[in-house]
Protein backbone atom coordinates (compact mmCIF):
# COMPACT_ATOMS: atom_id res chain seq x y z
CA UNK A 1 0.00 0.00 0.00
CA UNK A 2 1.35 3.43 -0.88
CA UNK A 3 0.39 6.83 0.52
CA UNK A 4 -1.80 7.32 -2.57
CA UNK A 5 -3.75 4.21 -1.57
CA UNK A 6 -4.68 5.67 1.80
CA UNK A 7 -7.98 7.55 1.85
CA UNK A 8 -6.80 10.59 3.80
CA UNK A 9 -10.26 12.16 3.82
CA UNK A 10 -11.43 9.01 5.57
CA UNK A 11 -8.56 9.40 8.04
CA UNK A 12 -9.63 12.98 8.78
CA UNK A 13 -13.18 11.76 9.36
CA UNK A 14 -11.86 9.53 12.16
CA UNK A 15 -10.88 12.55 14.29
CA UNK A 16 -13.84 14.28 15.93
CA UNK A 17 -12.09 17.47 17.03
CA UNK A 18 -10.68 18.32 13.60
CA UNK A 19 -14.19 17.89 12.23
CA UNK A 20 -15.65 20.12 14.91
CA UNK A 21 -16.59 23.77 14.68
CA UNK A 22 -16.09 26.87 16.81
CA UNK A 23 -18.48 29.77 16.20
CA UNK A 24 -19.86 27.78 13.27
CA UNK A 25 -16.51 27.72 11.46
CA UNK A 26 -14.33 24.64 10.91
CA UNK A 27 -11.28 24.06 13.09
CA UNK A 28 -7.91 24.05 11.35
CA UNK A 29 -5.73 22.17 13.80
CA UNK A 30 -2.05 22.85 13.12
CA UNK A 31 -0.57 22.13 16.55
CA UNK A 32 0.17 18.41 16.40
CA UNK A 33 3.84 18.86 17.32
CA UNK A 34 2.42 20.10 20.61
CA UNK A 35 -0.13 17.33 20.99
CA UNK A 36 -2.12 15.30 18.47
CA UNK A 37 -5.84 14.81 18.13
CA UNK A 38 -7.42 11.41 18.89
CA UNK A 39 -9.34 9.11 16.55
CA UNK A 40 -12.58 7.37 17.49
CA UNK A 41 -10.64 4.10 17.65
CA UNK A 42 -8.57 5.37 20.60
CA UNK A 43 -11.45 7.14 22.34
CA UNK A 44 -13.66 4.06 22.02
CA UNK A 45 -10.95 1.64 23.13
CA UNK A 46 -10.44 3.60 26.34
CA UNK A 47 -14.14 4.13 26.99
CA UNK A 48 -14.95 0.46 26.30
CA UNK A 49 -12.16 -0.69 28.59
CA UNK A 50 -13.42 1.55 31.39
CA UNK A 51 -17.03 0.48 30.81
CA UNK A 52 -16.49 -3.25 30.56
CA UNK A 53 -13.01 -4.41 31.50
CA UNK A 54 -11.36 -2.05 33.97
CA UNK A 55 -9.51 -3.72 36.87
CA UNK A 56 -6.14 -3.59 38.61
CA UNK A 57 -3.17 -5.15 36.85
CA UNK A 58 -0.46 -7.51 38.10
CA UNK A 59 -1.85 -8.03 41.60
CA UNK A 60 -5.18 -9.83 41.74
CA UNK A 61 -6.18 -13.41 40.98
CA UNK A 62 -9.67 -12.94 39.61
CA UNK A 63 -10.39 -13.18 35.89
CA UNK A 64 -11.35 -9.52 35.44
CA UNK A 65 -7.92 -8.48 36.76
CA UNK A 66 -6.14 -11.09 34.65
CA UNK A 67 -7.87 -9.76 31.52
CA UNK A 68 -6.94 -6.17 32.43
CA UNK A 69 -3.34 -7.27 32.89
CA UNK A 70 -3.43 -8.88 29.46
CA UNK A 71 -4.78 -5.65 27.96
CA UNK A 72 -2.02 -3.62 29.61
CA UNK A 73 0.74 -6.03 28.59
CA UNK A 74 -0.80 -6.33 25.13
CA UNK A 75 -0.23 -2.62 24.67
CA UNK A 76 3.42 -3.13 25.57
CA UNK A 77 3.78 -5.80 22.88
CA UNK A 78 2.13 -3.51 20.32
CA UNK A 79 4.61 -0.76 21.13
CA UNK A 80 7.49 -3.24 20.98
CA UNK A 81 6.53 -4.28 17.45
CA UNK A 82 5.86 -0.69 16.40
CA UNK A 83 9.44 0.36 17.16
CA UNK A 84 10.97 -3.06 16.40
CA UNK A 85 12.35 -3.50 19.89
CA UNK A 86 13.93 -6.92 20.52
CA UNK A 87 11.95 -7.66 23.69
CA UNK A 88 8.63 -6.46 25.11
CA UNK A 89 10.02 -6.12 28.63
CA UNK A 90 12.52 -3.55 27.38
CA UNK A 91 9.53 -1.24 26.79
CA UNK A 92 8.84 0.73 29.97
CA UNK A 93 5.71 2.82 30.39
CA UNK A 94 6.21 6.21 32.03
CA UNK A 95 4.08 9.33 32.44
CA UNK A 96 5.43 11.06 29.32
CA UNK A 97 8.61 11.48 27.28
CA UNK A 98 9.94 14.00 29.78
CA UNK A 99 9.74 11.41 32.55
CA UNK A 100 11.35 8.88 30.20
CA UNK A 101 14.36 11.14 29.66
CA UNK A 102 14.54 11.90 33.38
CA UNK A 103 14.47 8.17 34.10
CA UNK A 104 17.45 7.57 31.80
CA UNK A 105 19.41 10.60 33.01
CA UNK A 106 18.86 10.03 36.71
CA UNK A 107 18.86 6.24 36.86
CA UNK A 108 21.47 5.34 34.24
CA UNK A 109 23.33 8.64 34.42
CA UNK A 110 23.19 8.84 38.19
CA UNK A 111 24.75 5.38 38.50
CA UNK A 112 27.28 5.61 35.68
CA UNK A 113 28.45 9.22 35.46
CA UNK A 114 30.97 10.84 37.73
CA UNK A 115 32.64 14.22 38.07
CA UNK A 116 34.23 15.37 34.83
CA UNK A 117 32.41 12.87 32.60
CA UNK A 118 31.12 14.48 29.41
CA UNK A 119 27.57 14.33 28.08
CA UNK A 120 27.10 15.57 24.52
CA UNK A 121 23.81 17.27 23.59
CA UNK A 122 22.80 19.44 20.63
CA UNK A 123 21.70 23.04 20.25
CA UNK A 124 18.25 21.92 19.07
CA UNK A 125 17.16 19.95 22.12
CA UNK A 126 13.85 20.32 23.93
CA UNK A 127 14.19 21.36 27.56
CA UNK A 128 13.35 17.75 28.49
CA UNK A 129 16.70 16.67 27.05
CA UNK A 130 18.61 19.56 28.59
CA UNK A 131 17.42 20.19 32.12
CA UNK A 132 17.80 16.60 33.48
CA UNK A 133 21.46 16.70 32.36
CA UNK A 134 21.93 20.15 33.87
CA UNK A 135 20.55 18.72 37.11
CA UNK A 136 23.18 15.95 36.86
CA UNK A 137 25.81 18.58 36.13
CA UNK A 138 24.86 20.22 39.42
CA UNK A 139 24.70 17.01 41.46
CA UNK A 140 27.47 14.94 39.82
CA UNK A 141 29.75 17.55 38.27
CA UNK A 142 29.38 16.21 34.73
CA UNK A 143 30.44 18.35 31.77
CA UNK A 144 27.94 19.25 29.03
CA UNK A 145 29.08 19.66 25.43
CA UNK A 146 26.93 20.91 22.58
CA UNK A 147 26.76 19.99 18.89
CA UNK A 148 26.19 23.27 17.01
CA UNK A 149 23.87 23.87 14.06
CA UNK A 150 24.42 24.82 10.44
CA UNK A 151 22.84 27.96 8.99
CA UNK A 152 19.86 25.97 7.67
CA UNK A 153 19.19 24.33 11.01
CA UNK A 154 20.83 20.93 10.68
CA UNK A 155 23.37 19.48 13.06
CA UNK A 156 26.88 20.69 12.26
CA UNK A 157 28.83 17.45 12.65
CA UNK A 158 32.19 18.90 11.54
CA UNK A 159 33.73 18.51 14.98
CA UNK A 160 31.67 15.55 16.13
CA UNK A 161 34.64 13.29 16.84
CA UNK A 162 36.29 15.98 18.97
CA UNK A 163 33.05 16.57 20.89
CA UNK A 164 32.59 12.83 21.43
CA UNK A 165 36.21 12.26 22.45
CA UNK A 166 36.08 10.78 25.94
CA UNK A 167 32.31 11.40 26.22
CA UNK A 168 30.10 8.93 28.09
CA UNK A 169 26.75 9.93 26.57
CA UNK A 170 25.36 11.33 23.33
CA UNK A 171 21.73 12.33 23.87
CA UNK A 172 19.94 13.96 20.94
CA UNK A 173 16.63 14.53 19.23
CA UNK A 174 15.63 12.47 16.20
CA UNK A 175 13.55 15.41 15.00
CA UNK A 176 13.54 19.00 16.23
CA UNK A 177 10.21 20.25 17.57
CA UNK A 178 11.08 23.78 16.40
CA UNK A 179 12.97 23.36 13.12
CA UNK A 180 11.46 20.08 11.99
CA UNK A 181 15.00 18.89 11.27
CA UNK A 182 15.38 15.11 11.12
CA UNK A 183 18.82 14.11 12.39
CA UNK A 184 20.98 11.22 11.10
CA UNK A 185 20.09 8.97 14.02
CA UNK A 186 21.86 5.75 12.96
CA UNK A 187 25.10 7.59 12.09
CA UNK A 188 25.02 9.45 15.40
CA UNK A 189 24.42 6.25 17.37
CA UNK A 190 27.38 4.65 15.59
CA UNK A 191 29.60 7.66 16.25
CA UNK A 192 28.60 7.54 19.92
CA UNK A 193 29.44 3.84 20.18
CA UNK A 194 32.74 4.29 18.33
CA UNK A 195 33.65 6.81 21.00
CA UNK A 196 32.52 4.47 23.79
CA UNK A 197 29.45 6.58 24.61
CA UNK A 198 25.86 5.52 25.19
CA UNK A 199 23.36 6.77 22.56
CA UNK A 200 20.06 8.19 23.84
CA UNK A 201 17.45 9.25 21.28
CA UNK A 202 14.63 11.70 22.08
CA UNK A 203 12.19 10.40 19.46
CA UNK A 204 9.14 12.28 20.69
CA UNK A 205 8.63 14.13 17.38
CA UNK A 206 9.87 11.25 15.24
CA UNK A 207 7.93 8.14 16.27
CA UNK A 208 4.46 9.60 15.45
CA UNK A 209 5.52 10.47 11.90
CA UNK A 210 8.04 7.91 10.64
CA UNK A 211 8.91 4.23 10.56
CA UNK A 212 10.87 3.65 13.76
CA UNK A 213 13.33 0.79 14.11
CA UNK A 214 15.37 1.07 17.29
CA UNK A 215 17.57 -1.85 16.23
CA UNK A 216 18.38 -0.34 12.83
CA UNK A 217 19.24 2.88 14.65
CA UNK A 218 21.54 0.99 16.99
CA UNK A 219 20.32 3.16 19.87
CA UNK A 220 20.70 2.33 23.55
CA UNK A 221 17.69 4.26 24.83
CA UNK A 222 14.74 5.73 22.91
CA UNK A 223 12.05 7.90 24.49
CA UNK A 224 8.69 9.17 23.21
CA UNK A 225 5.18 10.02 24.32
CA UNK A 226 1.75 8.67 23.46
CA UNK A 227 -0.11 11.97 23.19
CA UNK A 228 1.75 13.10 20.08
CA UNK A 229 0.92 9.85 18.24
CA UNK A 230 -2.90 9.96 18.42
CA UNK A 231 -2.83 8.25 21.82
CA UNK A 232 -3.90 9.69 25.17
CA UNK A 233 -1.83 11.98 27.39
CA UNK A 234 -0.54 10.54 30.64
CA UNK A 235 1.63 7.77 29.23
CA UNK A 236 5.08 7.78 27.67
CA UNK A 237 7.61 5.19 26.62
CA UNK A 238 11.21 4.55 27.54
CA UNK A 239 12.84 1.75 25.57
CA UNK A 240 16.31 0.58 26.55
CA UNK A 241 18.59 -2.34 25.83
CA UNK A 242 17.94 -5.15 28.27
CA UNK A 243 21.52 -5.36 29.54
CA UNK A 244 21.57 -1.65 30.33
CA UNK A 245 18.15 -1.72 32.01
CA UNK A 246 19.12 -4.77 34.09
CA UNK A 247 22.24 -3.01 35.34
CA UNK A 248 20.45 0.22 36.24
CA UNK A 249 19.07 1.08 39.66
CA UNK A 250 15.32 1.73 39.82
CA UNK A 251 14.08 5.30 39.34
CA UNK A 252 10.94 5.61 41.49
CA UNK A 253 10.35 3.29 44.43
CA UNK A 254 7.10 1.83 45.70
CA UNK A 255 4.57 -0.82 44.81
CA UNK A 256 4.87 -3.01 41.70
CA UNK A 257 8.62 -2.37 41.28
CA UNK A 258 9.77 -4.72 44.06
CA UNK A 259 10.36 -8.44 44.34
CA UNK A 260 10.60 -8.23 48.13
CA UNK A 261 10.64 -5.60 50.84
CA UNK A 262 12.08 -6.24 54.30
CA UNK A 263 12.69 -3.85 57.15
CA UNK A 264 16.34 -3.70 56.15
CA UNK A 265 15.86 -3.19 52.42
CA UNK A 266 14.26 -4.29 49.17
CA UNK A 267 14.99 -6.22 46.01
CA UNK A 268 13.79 -5.04 42.62
CA UNK A 269 11.23 -6.71 40.41
CA UNK A 270 12.25 -7.96 36.99
CA UNK A 271 11.87 -5.76 33.90
CA UNK A 272 9.73 -3.91 33.09
CA UNK A 273 8.00 -3.70 36.51
CA UNK A 274 11.31 -2.54 38.02
CA UNK A 275 10.74 0.84 36.38
CA UNK A 276 6.96 1.03 36.80
CA UNK A 277 6.40 1.95 40.44
CA UNK A 278 2.82 2.33 41.60
CA UNK A 279 -0.39 1.83 39.67
CA UNK A 280 0.52 2.62 36.07
CA UNK A 281 -1.61 4.47 33.51
CA UNK A 282 -3.72 1.39 32.72
CA UNK A 283 -6.46 2.98 30.64
CA UNK A 284 -3.90 5.13 28.86
CA UNK A 285 -1.86 2.05 27.95
CA UNK A 286 -4.96 0.56 26.34
CA UNK A 287 -5.41 3.83 24.44
CA UNK A 288 -1.77 3.85 23.36
CA UNK A 289 -2.16 0.28 22.11
CA UNK A 290 -5.16 1.37 20.04
CA UNK A 291 -3.18 4.35 18.72
CA UNK A 292 -0.34 2.08 17.62
CA UNK A 293 -2.82 -0.20 15.86
CA UNK A 294 -4.43 2.79 14.16
CA UNK A 295 -1.11 4.16 12.89
CA UNK A 296 0.09 0.69 11.87
CA UNK A 297 -3.09 0.32 9.85
CA UNK A 298 -2.16 3.43 7.86
CA UNK A 299 1.46 2.34 7.52
CA UNK A 300 4.12 4.66 8.88
CA UNK A 301 5.90 4.99 5.54
CA UNK A 302 2.57 6.24 4.12
CA UNK A 303 2.27 8.70 6.99
CA UNK A 304 5.76 9.98 6.25
CA UNK A 305 5.02 10.35 2.52
CA UNK A 306 1.77 12.18 3.23
CA UNK A 307 3.56 14.60 5.54
CA UNK A 308 6.47 15.16 3.15
CA UNK A 309 3.96 16.14 0.49
CA UNK A 310 2.09 18.43 2.90
CA UNK A 311 5.30 20.02 4.17
CA UNK A 312 6.46 20.73 0.64
CA UNK A 313 3.05 22.14 -0.26
CA UNK A 314 2.92 24.35 2.84
CA UNK A 315 6.48 25.63 2.32
CA UNK A 316 5.72 26.48 -1.31
CA UNK A 317 2.34 28.04 -0.58
CA UNK A 318 3.64 30.31 2.19
CA UNK A 319 6.81 31.41 0.40
CA UNK A 320 5.07 31.91 -2.97
CA UNK A 321 2.47 34.08 -1.32
CA UNK A 322 4.53 36.04 1.17
CA UNK A 323 8.09 35.91 -0.16
CA UNK A 324 10.49 37.73 2.14
CA UNK A 325 7.66 38.66 4.51
CA UNK A 326 7.77 35.18 5.96
CA UNK A 327 10.85 33.50 7.40
CA UNK A 328 10.47 29.76 7.87
CA UNK A 329 13.18 28.25 10.04
CA UNK A 330 14.86 24.92 9.36
CA UNK A 331 15.91 23.02 6.25
CA UNK A 332 13.99 23.48 2.97
CA UNK A 333 14.65 19.89 1.87
CA UNK A 334 11.69 17.80 3.03
CA UNK A 335 13.89 14.67 2.97
CA UNK A 336 15.47 15.95 6.18
CA UNK A 337 12.55 17.75 7.80
CA UNK A 338 9.23 16.80 9.25
CA UNK A 339 5.93 18.67 9.03
CA UNK A 340 6.85 21.37 11.56
CA UNK A 341 7.03 24.97 10.31
CA UNK A 342 8.27 27.58 12.75
CA UNK A 343 8.05 30.99 11.23
CA UNK A 344 8.32 34.73 11.66
CA UNK A 345 5.74 36.79 9.77
CA UNK A 346 6.65 40.37 8.90
CA UNK A 347 7.36 42.16 12.17
CA UNK A 348 4.29 40.87 13.91
CA UNK A 349 4.90 39.15 17.21
CA UNK A 350 4.08 35.40 17.13
CA UNK A 351 1.60 35.82 19.96
CA UNK A 352 -0.29 38.35 17.87
CA UNK A 353 0.00 36.16 14.77
CA UNK A 354 -1.54 33.30 16.72
CA UNK A 355 -4.31 35.57 18.02
CA UNK A 356 -5.22 36.69 14.51
CA UNK A 357 -5.12 33.11 13.19
CA UNK A 358 -7.36 32.01 16.06
CA UNK A 359 -10.00 34.36 14.71
CA UNK A 360 -10.18 31.96 11.75
CA UNK A 361 -9.93 28.89 14.03
CA UNK A 362 -6.40 28.25 12.77
CA UNK A 363 -4.64 26.71 15.78
CA UNK A 364 -0.86 27.23 15.90
CA UNK A 365 1.59 27.35 18.76
CA UNK A 366 3.23 30.65 19.63
CA UNK A 367 6.11 30.75 22.04
CA UNK A 368 9.54 29.31 22.73
CA UNK A 369 8.47 25.67 22.24
CA UNK A 370 10.39 24.55 25.34
CA UNK A 371 13.64 25.07 23.46
CA UNK A 372 14.97 28.39 24.75
CA UNK A 373 18.65 27.74 23.93
CA UNK A 374 17.65 27.15 20.30
CA UNK A 375 15.42 30.23 20.28
CA UNK A 376 18.37 32.35 21.45
CA UNK A 377 20.37 30.92 18.56
CA UNK A 378 17.59 31.91 16.15
CA UNK A 379 17.60 35.38 17.71
CA UNK A 380 13.90 35.12 18.53
CA UNK A 381 12.09 35.15 21.84
CA UNK A 382 9.29 33.28 20.21
CA UNK A 383 8.09 31.91 16.89
CA UNK A 384 4.73 30.86 15.56
CA UNK A 385 4.68 27.17 14.68
CA UNK A 386 2.32 25.31 12.40
CA UNK A 387 2.62 21.52 12.50
CA UNK A 388 0.78 19.02 10.32
CA UNK A 389 -0.31 15.44 10.83
CA UNK A 390 -2.32 12.66 9.23
CA UNK A 391 -5.67 14.48 9.50
CA UNK A 392 -4.37 17.61 7.75
CA UNK A 393 -4.50 18.25 4.04
CA UNK A 394 -3.62 20.98 1.55
CA UNK A 395 -6.70 22.99 2.49
CA UNK A 396 -5.23 23.48 5.98
CA UNK A 397 -2.07 25.01 4.53
CA UNK A 398 -4.26 27.25 2.36
CA UNK A 399 -6.32 28.26 5.40
CA UNK A 400 -3.12 29.18 7.24
CA UNK A 401 -1.92 31.30 4.32
CA UNK A 402 -5.31 33.01 4.00
CA UNK A 403 -5.60 33.73 7.71
CA UNK A 404 -2.15 35.35 7.80
CA UNK A 405 -3.48 38.08 5.53
CA UNK A 406 -5.65 39.31 8.40
CA UNK A 407 -2.57 40.04 10.50
CA UNK A 408 -1.28 42.56 8.00
CA UNK A 409 -4.60 44.38 7.97
CA UNK A 410 -4.68 44.85 11.74
CA UNK A 411 -1.08 45.81 12.25
CA UNK A 412 -0.95 47.98 9.16
CA UNK A 413 2.28 46.46 7.91
Amino acid sequence: MSAAAVDWARVKADFPVVNGRIDGQPIVYLDSANTSQKPHAVIDAMADFMRHAYAPINRSAYRLAAAATDAYEGARTKVQKFINAPKAHEVVFTKNATESLNLVAHSWGGANLKRGDAVVLTHMEHHANIVPWQMLAASHGIELRWIPLTADGQLDLTNLSTLLDGAKVLSFTAMSNVLGTITPVAALCKAAHDAGAVAIVDACQYVPHNVTDVQAWGADFVTFSSHKMVGPSGIGVMWGREALLDAMPPFLGGGNMIADVRLDGFTCAELPAKFEAGTPPIVEAVGLGAAVEYLSGLGMSNVRQHEMHLTDYALRTLTDRYGDDITIHGPRNVEVRGAVLSFAFRDIHPHDVSQVLDQKNVCVRAGHHCAKPLMRLLGANATARASFYIYNDESDADALADALDGASDIFGL
Binding site: I22, H351, N381, A382, G406, I410, F411
Partner: protein, 147 residues
Protein backbone atom coordinates in the same frame (compact mmCIF):
# COMPACT_ATOMS: atom_id res chain seq x y z
CA UNK B 1 -15.94 35.16 19.89
CA UNK B 2 -15.31 38.88 20.43
CA UNK B 3 -13.85 40.72 17.47
CA UNK B 4 -10.18 41.61 17.31
CA UNK B 5 -11.11 45.29 17.33
CA UNK B 6 -11.89 44.84 21.04
CA UNK B 7 -8.31 43.71 21.57
CA UNK B 8 -6.27 45.73 19.12
CA UNK B 9 -7.62 49.22 19.82
CA UNK B 10 -5.89 52.00 17.91
CA UNK B 11 -4.33 53.50 21.04
CA UNK B 12 -2.85 50.10 21.91
CA UNK B 13 -1.34 49.71 18.47
CA UNK B 14 0.01 53.23 18.69
CA UNK B 15 1.86 52.43 21.92
CA UNK B 16 3.09 49.17 20.37
CA UNK B 17 4.46 50.92 17.29
CA UNK B 18 5.86 53.88 19.23
CA UNK B 19 6.59 52.72 22.78
CA UNK B 20 7.09 55.52 25.31
CA UNK B 21 9.90 55.68 27.87
CA UNK B 22 11.98 52.91 26.29
CA UNK B 23 15.48 52.42 27.65
CA UNK B 24 17.40 51.95 30.85
CA UNK B 25 18.31 53.96 33.95
CA UNK B 26 21.59 53.60 35.83
CA UNK B 27 21.19 51.35 38.89
CA UNK B 28 21.79 52.66 41.45
CA UNK B 29 20.44 55.24 41.99
CA UNK B 30 17.48 53.72 40.07
CA UNK B 31 15.97 50.35 40.97
CA UNK B 32 14.88 47.74 38.45
CA UNK B 33 13.03 44.45 38.20
CA UNK B 34 12.70 41.87 35.44
CA UNK B 35 9.55 40.02 34.58
CA UNK B 36 8.89 37.32 32.04
CA UNK B 37 5.97 35.32 30.79
CA UNK B 38 7.24 31.74 30.63
CA UNK B 39 4.43 30.71 28.31
CA UNK B 40 5.20 33.02 25.43
CA UNK B 41 8.69 34.30 26.15
CA UNK B 42 7.74 37.95 26.71
CA UNK B 43 10.33 39.80 28.78
CA UNK B 44 10.12 43.18 30.47
CA UNK B 45 12.52 45.20 32.59
CA UNK B 46 11.18 48.16 34.54
CA UNK B 47 13.56 50.85 35.82
CA UNK B 48 12.33 53.33 38.42
CA UNK B 49 14.02 56.46 39.69
CA UNK B 50 12.34 57.21 42.99
CA UNK B 51 13.08 60.45 44.80
CA UNK B 52 11.40 60.73 48.17
CA UNK B 53 7.84 59.53 47.64
CA UNK B 54 7.75 60.25 43.90
CA UNK B 55 8.65 58.24 40.80
CA UNK B 56 10.62 60.89 38.97
CA UNK B 57 11.64 58.74 36.01
CA UNK B 58 10.74 55.39 34.50
CA UNK B 59 12.20 53.35 31.63
CA UNK B 60 11.08 50.07 30.13
CA UNK B 61 13.17 47.46 28.33
CA UNK B 62 12.42 44.04 26.90
CA UNK B 63 10.43 42.54 24.07
CA UNK B 64 7.15 40.85 23.54
CA UNK B 65 3.77 40.91 21.90
CA UNK B 66 1.68 44.00 21.14
CA UNK B 67 -0.38 43.65 24.31
CA UNK B 68 2.55 43.24 26.71
CA UNK B 69 4.57 46.02 25.08
CA UNK B 70 1.74 48.53 24.76
CA UNK B 71 0.64 47.84 28.32
CA UNK B 72 4.23 48.50 29.46
CA UNK B 73 4.36 51.73 27.49
CA UNK B 74 1.03 52.95 28.86
CA UNK B 75 2.08 51.92 32.35
CA UNK B 76 5.24 54.00 32.07
CA UNK B 77 3.18 57.07 31.14
CA UNK B 78 0.74 56.44 33.96
CA UNK B 79 3.38 56.27 36.70
CA UNK B 80 5.94 58.89 35.66
CA UNK B 81 5.92 61.84 38.03
CA UNK B 82 3.37 60.18 40.34
CA UNK B 83 3.62 59.51 44.05
CA UNK B 84 4.40 55.89 44.94
CA UNK B 85 1.18 55.48 46.92
CA UNK B 86 -0.89 56.80 44.02
CA UNK B 87 0.90 54.40 41.66
CA UNK B 88 0.09 51.48 43.93
CA UNK B 89 -3.56 52.51 43.75
CA UNK B 90 -3.40 52.55 39.94
CA UNK B 91 -1.83 49.07 39.95
CA UNK B 92 -4.69 47.74 42.05
CA UNK B 93 -7.30 49.41 39.88
CA UNK B 94 -5.68 48.15 36.67
CA UNK B 95 -5.42 44.57 37.90
CA UNK B 96 -9.00 44.66 39.03
CA UNK B 97 -9.98 45.78 35.52
CA UNK B 98 -8.07 42.70 34.32
CA UNK B 99 -10.26 40.54 36.62
CA UNK B 100 -7.32 39.71 38.86
CA UNK B 101 -8.19 39.52 42.55
CA UNK B 102 -5.60 40.68 45.04
CA UNK B 103 -5.63 39.65 48.65
CA UNK B 104 -6.05 43.20 49.90
CA UNK B 105 -9.44 43.35 51.70
CA UNK B 106 -9.70 47.14 51.38
CA UNK B 107 -11.89 48.46 48.54
CA UNK B 108 -10.36 48.97 45.10
CA UNK B 109 -9.39 52.66 44.95
CA UNK B 110 -11.50 54.93 42.79
CA UNK B 111 -8.81 56.24 40.46
CA UNK B 112 -9.07 57.20 36.81
CA UNK B 113 -7.24 54.92 34.42
CA UNK B 114 -7.54 57.18 31.40
CA UNK B 115 -5.93 55.68 28.29
CA UNK B 116 -5.33 52.44 30.15
CA UNK B 117 -9.01 51.69 29.83
CA UNK B 118 -8.28 50.82 26.20
CA UNK B 119 -6.84 47.58 27.56
CA UNK B 120 -10.19 46.57 29.03
CA UNK B 121 -10.96 44.51 25.91
CA UNK B 122 -8.12 42.15 26.83
CA UNK B 123 -10.38 40.60 29.47
CA UNK B 124 -12.44 39.09 26.66
CA UNK B 125 -9.31 37.19 25.58
CA UNK B 126 -8.32 35.48 28.85
CA UNK B 127 -5.09 34.02 27.43
CA UNK B 128 -3.80 37.56 26.88
CA UNK B 129 -4.45 38.85 30.42
CA UNK B 130 -1.00 37.64 31.44
CA UNK B 131 0.50 39.70 28.62
CA UNK B 132 -1.31 42.83 29.79
CA UNK B 133 -0.36 42.52 33.48
CA UNK B 134 3.29 41.52 32.97
CA UNK B 135 4.54 45.12 33.09
CA UNK B 136 2.39 45.85 36.12
CA UNK B 137 3.64 42.87 38.10
CA UNK B 138 7.18 43.86 37.19
CA UNK B 139 6.45 47.42 38.33
CA UNK B 140 5.24 46.04 41.67
CA UNK B 141 8.48 44.09 42.03
CA UNK B 142 10.55 47.17 41.23
CA UNK B 143 8.62 49.14 43.87
CA UNK B 144 9.34 46.36 46.37
CA UNK B 145 13.03 46.61 45.40
CA UNK B 146 12.98 50.26 46.39
CA UNK B 147 11.69 49.60 49.90
Amino acid sequence: MPGLEDLYREIILDHYRSPRNRGELPTPPAVHAQGHNPLCGDEITVYLQIDGDTITDVKVGGQGCSISQSSASMMSQAVKGKKVDDVKAVVRKFKSMMSIDDEDPTPIPEVKLGDLEALQGVVKFPVRIKCAVLAWNTLTEALAEAQ
